[in-house]
Subunit: 753 residues, 2 copies
């Protein structure tokens, strides 16, 4: 029979070796600007912890627990960790931060000032009260990383197919994970050495208990950490034995319930421990990772990859002793190493070097996609203990832990606020989708990116699945509505039939017929445009009528773009974008062409540069506003007004750099929602309703918004847009922010509060 090592070398397995699924739960204490435990409650804006899949609290009300969804690659895992951090930071009160260390900040002297998480379910609160009593509140305030690891499904299936020992796949999987678990427990000291990061404790941590006398590698992973009492002993020999032992501990009262069994590894199957008997082991949860204070999210991609390689190695390595002895030896070594001084060479340096060499060999033999120098850091850390996380952390915190941690916390917080419209990890997606995802994560709506390039999301909340594309293309709108809006003639007919004012006009399929209609338009303002407008191409505007020659030329230009041409009445006035959702106007925006305002001192070029400093300005539609350019078009526009880029406009003079008002060419977006009376809002909302649409951006030309909407020619509807841009309303150049993405979410899920 082949050994596992031999099996892993089989060629058939090669494509699947680096397949796995990952998940992280990361705890952090909320702190104030001066590094003290926050006194505020868990933010209400984060919705209900009873179901929140991303942002929970652990033991204490101040102890955030950030939970990633299951990820299929280390990169994907890190994206989610970054995104959830972004949401958490920006959901906290502006002055609150996250304590970056596993060991808590200075704790209040009085136990009652450590507030247990205010959960809805009384059982959950009761359990925490029990823990506080059984282990002490202070130990519960330690934070860490829980890392969930599952081998790839195809990896396991193919491995199962080539082995001969187990006829049943579930039994086989359980055996795989049990082997990995035992070896992990045996060698976990290796991680404690490399990644242990709790060398000392802060004030008021060890108040009653004995503390380590010297700095160590990991208080949290030592006997001083938060572990079960010594008399809790569970065998990993078999799943049956493991479950029987835990059941016995609960029976004799050594554990209050199954979940109180806190091992460095938890075997996971169904929801509860007892489910394992049916499901077998489906994945394992590593619980012994200290927060890495040098990584903004407490763990980094390299650590994730390292852990994956280590898990494969634990499967690969033979076990050379009986299960219980093997684990007991591992426990002892781990406690020993955890309590070594961080700046000292470990007593187990030889086994450590062997493990590094073994990992290098594994990667080479199995052709894992890791760089050749991937494990150099580990080798160096064994050669020089000062390179371990624990030693590095001790070096920077031995004088004053709080000051250093506060500085790191501030940096992390500042990073999250630098571009508040972005969602870290997903910055390549469209801005509206990023903002919608932010809101979804904040409210605990489960998000799956079905297709990143296509902006296709799956949402799940309140037991219902919804699909969203480009942030507002949803199941709430019907198939035929966007098709209608894409056809300007149909849109106009439907709106006109419903009694709305639209530009009068005609559609022409040939030049000859169109020219015959000239007398109809000759003497008043009109617009000639291709029926299917392509980014404004082929449009001619005559504000005060035109000669027959000009009319013909405009027709020729339009017919060059499309086989059908519209000639429409020109409507004078200001164009406003009304964003309508479910029958009511949620935002009104005025778009102003790219411009600068003179101050009598700076040149236009300087004014543009200064205006472009706004963090809201960026490029390629990945910022709410675009950078103002100084290209050919802008320079020509300046010239026509008698300016050059070196001109110094007088104070208060507005200089326009563009004729068109598009935000995409540097225009300003100005929220004017509150400047409109209800009657215009009703016109816009009713027009969208007449089109049968639920979500639409409808453009109205309004000569004077102070006139009642019922007065003659008070407005004209230019067009209705499906998938209207939302980011420009959420982050306008000036005026109030309108969180339309949240409105869309609440439209999909009225249960959100």
């Amino acid at each position: 029979m082949k050994t596992m090592k031999q099996l892993l070398h089989e060629k058939a397995l090669q494509p699947y070796l680096w397949q796995a699924r990952y998940g992280v739960e990361k705890e952090s204490q909320r702190i104030t600007a001066n590094g003290q435990l926050a006194k505020t409650d868990h933010p209400k804006v984060l919705g209900n912890r009873a179901y929140h899949p991303y942002i929970q609290t652990d033991f204490a009300e101040t102890q955030l627990e950030l939970v990633t969804p299951v990820a299929n690659s280390p990169q994907e895992l890190m994206r989610w960790l970054a995104a959830i951090h972004d949401v958490a930071y920006r959901s906290l009160p502006k002055e609150e931060m996250m304590w970056p260390l596993s060991m808590p900040p200075v704790l209040p002297l009085k136990d009652e000032e450590i507030v247990i998480a205010k959960l809805d379910t009384f059982e959950d609160v009761l359990y925490r009260r029990y823990l506080a009593k059984a282990y002490g509140k202070r130990k519960q305030m330690v934070s860490g990383i829980h890392f969930n690891f599952e081998f790839g499904a195809e990896f396991l299936q193919n491995l199962f197919a080539i082995q001969e020992q187990y006829p049943d796949f579930t039994d086989f999987k359980t055996a795989v994970y049990l082997k990995v678990t035992r070896n992990y427990l045996r060698y976990r000291w290796f991680l404690t050495y490399l990644f242990g990061a709790t060398p000392t404790s802060n004030e008021n941590y060890f108040v009653a208990d004995i503390a380590p006398k010297e700095p160590v590698r990991s208080i949290r992973n030592s006997q001083f950490g938060y572990t079960n009492h010594d008399d809790v002993q569970v065998s990993y020999e078999s799943l049956g034995q493991y479950l029987a032992d835990i059941a016995r501990m609960v029976e004799v009262g050594k554990l209050s319930e199954e979940k109180e069994f806190y091992a460095p590894v938890r075997l996971r199957g169904g929801q509860k421990v007892a489910d394992l008997a049916k499901t077998g082991i489906r994945y394992i949860e590593l619980r012994n990772i200290d927060l890495n204070p040098f990584a903004p999210f407490g763990i980094d991609e390299k650590q994730i990859e390292f852990l994956h390689a280590f898990m494969l190695y634990m499967l690969y390595l033979p076990e050379t002793e009986a299960a219980d002895d093997w684990v007991a030896k591992g426990d002892a070594i781990n406690n020993f190493v955890a309590l070594e001084r961080p700046d000292r060479v470990t007593d187990f340096v030889e086994e450590g070097m062997d493990l590094v060499a073994g990992l290098k060999e594994l990667v080479k033999n199995l052709k894992l996609p890791l760089a050749e120098d991937f494990f150099d850091f580990a080798q160096q850390a064994f050669e020089d203990p000062n390179q371990t996380l624990a030693a590095r952390l001790y070096a920077v915190t031995k004088e004053d832990m709080t000051t250093w941690a506060k500085t790191v916390a501030k940096e992390n917080q500042a990073q999250a606020w630098q571009k508040p419209y972005q969602l870290a990890g997903f910055t390549k997606m469209e801005l509206s989708t990023q903002i919608l995802m932010f809101d979804a994560i904040q409210k605990g709506v489960q998000v799956t990116v079905l297709d990143e390039e296509d902006q296709f999301l799956q949402l799940r909340f309140a037991g219902r699945t919804e699909y969203v594309k480009n942030a507002n293309m949803t199941s709430k709108d019907s198939y035929v509505v966007p098709l209608m809006m894409a056809n300007k003639t149909v849109t106009k007919k439907v709106l006109a039939n419903a009694g709305f004012r639209v530009p009068q006009g005609s559609e022409f399929a040939d030049m000859e017929t169109a020219v015959l209609a000239y007398p109809k338009f000759a003497n008043s303002g009109f617009v000639v445009k291709p029926k299917s407008t392509n980014y404004g191409l082929g449009i001619s505007i005559f504000k005060h009528g035109a000669s027959l020659a000009d009319f013909k030329e405009a027709l020729a230009i339009a017919f060059a773009e499309d086989s059908a041409v519209l000639v429409e009445e020109f409507m004078a006035g200001t164009e406003y974008r009304f964003f309508v959702l479910d029958g009511s106007v949620k935002a009104i925006l005025l778009r102003v062409p790219a411009n600068v305002v003179g101050d009598g001192r700076h040149t236009i070029a300087e004014l543009v540069a200064a205006k472009n400093e706004d963090p809201l300005r960026g490029s390629h539609h990945r910022a709410p506003l675009e950078l103002i350019q100084l290209g050919e078009i802008e320079k020509l526009m300046l010239k026509e007004q008698g300016y050059a880029t070196t001109s110094v406009p007088a104070e208060g003079v507005i200089v326009y750099l563009r004729e068109n008002s598009n935000v995409s060419t540097g225009g300003d977006s100005i929220d004017v929602t509150d400047e409109f009376s209800q009657d215009y809002k009703e016109v816009a909302a009713q027009a969208v309703t007449a089109l049968g649409a639920k979500i639409s951006g409808i453009d109205l030309i309004i000569p004077d918004k102070l006139q009642p909407a019922t007065s003659p020619n008070a407005y004209g509807i230019i067009e209705a847009n499906f998938n209207p841009a939302m980011h420009m309303h959420v982050y306008p150049f000036s005026g109030k922010s309108r969180r339309l993405t949240m409105e869309v979410l609440k439209f999909l899920y009225p249960e959100i509060n």
Copy 2:
């Protein structure tokens, strides 16, 4: 003050002169193959006459009344008239036809065998019983054309703007129509002369009454026609006088109700005559047009244009006598001319020639868009009375009216059945839209073509408006569903999550990563394709695995088409299209590549030619099947099988001319709906439901449809299509027709029966 003639010459009016709205109501008696009145009831398939906007019955159960919607041009009017005729013909029992003459076919001798229309409303039946009693059933059996005419809105507005007499627009309009009406009544003999087409009556028409002794121009427009009794006299001097007179007639019992006033012109405003006082005259209804038996639909486009010109002329011409005298003179002349022998020069030839000359001058002066020789036919008809409709009809029917009328009826009927999948008038639209429009017209669903090129319809029924694009893009499907289906990766993820079998595979964004996955696919069948498939471009199929070199080449080909490439498991089996609507399978289609079956006698070229004779085959997707080509591809395919176009395949041998099974390249569509057990239908229906779609064509690969769908690998879902073709199911090459268009209609309007 300017005269109307002067006003009409104003330049400002020129663009609007030829604007008008038209509508036609056309009656026809249903007859059997031997030319007798049909004994059947009005076809049930036509839905309920209580609301049917297009196909009604007039006096008798056999008397179809076809009603066009309001049209904006003579062309549009004729399209609708043609379309409604198509629907009516194909809704009748196969042997029934429409009697093409105004004078009825041979009537039963017994009055009780002339069956009054079996309408739902008792009032309507009662009124018909009264008419039968007051005028006799036989007179009610005469059919004709009612022509509704309204001047264009812009024409009237602009005319109103340049006149000075009327300060109120409604009063002005009423005056316009009253003038036109009085002149029309004065000169209508001109139309009786040109278009009168009831020279003689058939047997059993004049049973009790005195009949004309000689053939005439128009029995229907003479004193022998169906008119009010002589003592019903109404003045057209003013609208007030007109209404007062009618009211008085009703009061004294000379009319049973207002609508019994049967004048050659009816003034129309609101629903009832009395509404006119409020609305003013909005349009007029000309009721004196005999069916033109030489025009397949009883009237032709030239007559419509003629009537429009005549209406303008009636507005243009001055009135030279007091209103009542003027009208009375017109009545007298009309009766005189109507009763002249059709082959005789009329006594009023001089006035007739003057009217022709006047019309010619009108067209010339006002630059109306009519050909220079437009009125030549009228001039010739006055020079040679044998060219009038009445004379021509008398010539062909004097021996035997029934035989001639039967022949014409048969020709008209055959025309409607020639290409039964088309809808006359709308043959440029997509076939599925034509069929859907047919079904809508049949069931009395109001159809408006909002955009012909875009296949955009508005439907109205049961008080609800629906919009339909491309025949099955409706409000029933949500916006996000077609977006999901357009993305094959998303579709597969959603289907796989819901537990359906889809081809396993991976998406790759670059060549390098894709090549690394080679071992996963090497040894079993797989397909390499661009993520967004473009008509099958860039797809490589390896049914039994491939070498690394072939894999790389296939990737290169696919990446040339798209930036993302899918590599998917190849699924062996036959592909079937399941058409799913609202959660159940309505049709299953097998598509077979273009082929011919040998008979041992004919060459392949001859067999192709014979197969192409099928009237279902056409080109450019305007027929249910495409013509089989014998181009390069087909010849190569033949060559590979050892054939040439001159080969004579043995009897029963199937020769394929194409590898692909698309109907668009001459493939056969075979309905196999009844060959499938319920379980496969459930898989297809549930998969579409899992995608959230209501209407979809979903393609399943099935190796053996006799195996249960629950057996392993019984099926694989290849793709789901929004806007799936329907015409291939409605008119398959073989197997049962599935009227999916009607299913879509009934899905939109469950009220349809």
